[in-house]
Amino acid sequence: MKKILFAVSAAALVSVSVAHHSAAMFDHSKTVTYKGVVKEFQFTNPHSWLQVLITGPDGNTVEWGFEAEGPSTLRRVGIEAKTFKPGEKVTVVANPMKDGRPAGAWITVTTADGKVYSTRPAPPPGSSAPPAGKS
């Protein structure tokens, strides 16, 4: 009886977790380039968020959130809180969300002056997809 309860609650918890986890999952097989204007750069642990206003072909402006690691990691690749200023034009290369929500896992950001900020050190040649998980 205890074993059945255990199994049922385990299954329930895992399904809830996977369902929620999917909402935060990015499609690592796709890389998309986005152009927009910085609204805000949240330079925080555990994850930083670059909020970018992107105007689609239909003329609507949507706020996208691009997630990266926290200051602990980003500072080591030269990114600081003031690196991305509101109003600045940026080009973001990111893995989009699987469910189509306006968010992505940011890979590189190119600022108006042409400087490229990568959230990841370059992978060695021939290596596979970016990291599956976060910290």
Binding site: S17, A23, A24, T44, N45, S72, G133, K134, S135
Partner: protein, 163 residues
């Protein structure tokens, strides 16, 4: 609720956790080590009551020796956890894994109270050997299960937090 979260997020420790390179990993490390000590020590007592380990020790002597440390480690886990929560209170509050973790901890707390106020009262009659009453065993089995899932939910927070 929102202004309460904003107030928590304005604390110096919250600001430090968000912006410092080392504070967040440091608090996380302390939190994880404290949790492992809570879970490990709870496992030792639970396995004893279940009659699966340390059978030559008296239940009372083992729990009295171990549980103060369990509470000490729990206090450390609580303080470090609360600070990390305060850093992004709004985001964590809305995180399903965090919510489930808190519910499971409440359940573990109730389970512990139930164990101490009901079967444990007669402990001197089952202090030696593997003769704990069914309710005691049920509570300890539930305790082990709950803590395993508490750890799992805690880990899921890291993979699902959107903040």
């Amino acid at each position: 609720m929102q202004s309460f979260f904003q107030w928590l997020e304005s604390w110096p420790v919250s600001v430090g956790l968000r912006e410092s390179s080392w504070m967040f990993p440091a608090f996380e490390s302390v939190h994880v080590i404290a949790i492992t000590l809570v879970v490990g020590s709870v496992m030792i007592v639970d396995l004893r009551v279940l009659g699966l380990a340390s059978r030559s020790e008296r239940v009372t002597e083992l729990s009295q020796a171990v549980l103060p440390w369990t509470w000490g480690a729990f206090a450390v886990a609580l303080v470090s956890g609360f600070c990390m929560f305060a850093a992004k209170a709004d985001a964590y509050f809305g995180n399903t894994s965090f919510q489930i973790k808190m519910l499971l901890m409440a359940a573990a707390f109730v389970n512990m109270l139930m164990f101490h106020f009901i079967p444990y009262r007669s402990v001197h009659s089952w202090d030696e050997g593997a003769s704990a009453p069914p309710l005691a065993r049920l509570a300890c089995g539930a305790s082990l299960t709950l803590w395993v899932f508490i750890v799992l939910m805690g880990r899921w927070i890291g993979f699902s937090i959107e903040g």
